[in-house]
């Protein structure tokens, strides 16, 4: 029996994916629900586990030119990539643009991916490069005086949390401020491995592939970053408030 996942619908619609344990419905993409969380594509449960085990096969189909298969991959990983970019840009608009670019780049180059089991780390590698490129260009624009007078992430945050309860908005802004304060205080490689491991939830093995570093190097940077996290007390207040 062909275990291939069938995809009903296209991008922009609710996706139903048949698995051996039933149909898994990808959560609908939230629209303009600013006070709601980005709870899309949270792969949990046995059906979701089934899907992830099918990823290499879906990748094979996508490599063979099956557009629907690639759409399935987009739906499976869109949330992960969007959030990954948002954590590093703090701008919804930039995160949307970059996510689009990342998937388009993946779409164009997926034929070069030989091992389908490495799709996630391959996709994250494209994303990491995309974000670095974004920051490089932003810095260049700033140096050349092309940057706007106000940080786009601040403007974007205002729009993103428009209509939210004021105290709720304050907590969210403070949370991001603390996260940024902590992450920006880390050396570049420590910051990247910390974010990939503890914010993006990648395994150490995946991180070695994303960054093309050996395991010992990744672990060493992680130890150091965790040690600094342990000493960074002010973050705890915010996630304990939110975590209740």
């Amino acid at each position: 029996m062909n275990p291939v996942l069938s995809v009903a619908g296209t991008t922009g619609e609710i996706i139903n994916i048949e698995t051996s344990r039933g149909v898994w419905t990808a959560p609908p993409r939230p629209g303009n629900m600013n006070c709601m969380s980005s709870d899309e594509t949270n792969l949990t449960g046995s059906a979701a586990t089934d899907i992830l085990t099918q990823v290499p096969h879906i990748v094979d189909q996508a490599r063979a030119g099956d557009r629907n298969a690639f759409t399935t991959l987009v739906n499976l990983f869109h949330g992960d990539i969007y959030r990954m970019v948002y954590y590093r840009t703090r701008s919804r608009m930039d995160a949307e643009d970059l996510t689009q670019d990342i998937f388009m780049k993946a779409f164009k180059t997926i034929t070069g991916l030989r091992d389908g089991s490495r799709f996630k780390s391959w996709l994250f590698a494209i994303a990491v490069n995309g974000v670095h490129d974004f920051h490089r260009k932003k810095k260049l624009r700033s140096l050349l005086g092309f940057a706007g007078p106000v940080d786009s992430s601040t403007v974007d945050d205002n729009a993103a949390y428009e209509g939210c309860d004021a105290s709720d908005t304050m907590i969210k802004r403070d949370f991001w401020k603390e996260v940024t304060s902590f992450a920006d205080g880390l050396p570049r490689m420590e910051r990247e491995v910390f974010l990939l491991r503890f914010m993006d939830d990648l395994s150490i093995r995946d991180i070695t592939r994303v960054l093309n570093k050996n395991e010992n190097t990744v672990k060493t940077h992680l130890y150091r970053a965790v040690g600094k996290f342990r000493a960074h007390g002010s973050l705890r207040h915010y996630y304990q408030e939110e975590g209740r």
């Binding site: 991008t11 922009g12 993409r29 939230p30 629209g31 303009n32 629900m33 600013n34 709601m36 969380s37 980005s38 709870d39 899309e40 949270n42 557009r67 690639f70 759409t71 987009v74 869109h78 969007y82 959030r83 948002y86 954590y87 919804r92 995160a95 949307e96 996510t99 689009q100 998937f103 388009m104 779409f107 945050d157 993103a160 949390y161 969210k172 949370f175 991001w176 996260v179 491991r197 503890f198 914010m199 939830d201 150490i204 672990k219 992680l222 130890y223 150091r224 965790v226 040690g227 996290f229 342990r230 000493a231 973050l235 705890r236 915010y238 996630y239 304990q240 939110e242 975590g243």
Partner: protein
């Protein structure tokens, strides 16, 4: 409880344990297994990191746009916009040059200077005035007349 007597894990060892417990030397792993304080600290950091991720996921503003797979992506529209803007700019620049030449010819300095010379009597020969106009202006008297200029008053 010899393991506990070996001393509590240092901050660095706790951090190593959070990342990968197997990285600790066997004696330290034994201590960690036997010491509630060290194990508690390690677990608390792990929980804090989990909460950090969960909070970030929860309060990330949801995207309003979705990925659209196109063969040429947005670059096609970007190129079109760029091309359209460039063409518009060039057309505007060309029109501006033509308009300037027209304006210069119709009412510009050289023509007036010539007229002034003629009116001041330095050169009252109508043909010379005409010749001067033709030299100074690329447009003939006929076109100047069409443009609303009264250029034959010297007659």
């Amino acid at each position: 409880m010899n393991a506990v007597k070996n001393g509590h894990l240092t901050g660095d060892e706790i951090a190593r344990a959070v990342v990968d417990e197997a990285e600790l030397p066997a004696s330290r792993r034994e201590h960690l297994a036997a010491c509630p304080a060290c194990r508690g600290e390690k677990e608390n950091i792990g929980k804090d990191l989990t909460r950090l991720r969960e909070t970030a996921v929860r309060i990330t503003p949801p995207p309003e746009r979705r990925v659209v797979l196109t063969k040429e992506k947005d670059t096609r529209s970007v190129r079109f916009v760029w091309g359209w803007r460039t063409a518009s700019g060039m057309a505007l620049a060309t029109l501006s040059v033509i308009a300037f030449i027209w304006w210069y010819a119709a009412s510009g300095g050289p023509g007036n200077e010539t007229t002034m010379v003629a009116e001041n009597g330095y050169d009252t020969d109508p043909e010379m005035v005409e010749a001067s106009r033709i030299v100074e202006n690329p447009l003939s008297l006929t076109y100047l007349a069409i443009a609303g200029e009264s250029v034959v008053e010297e007659q």
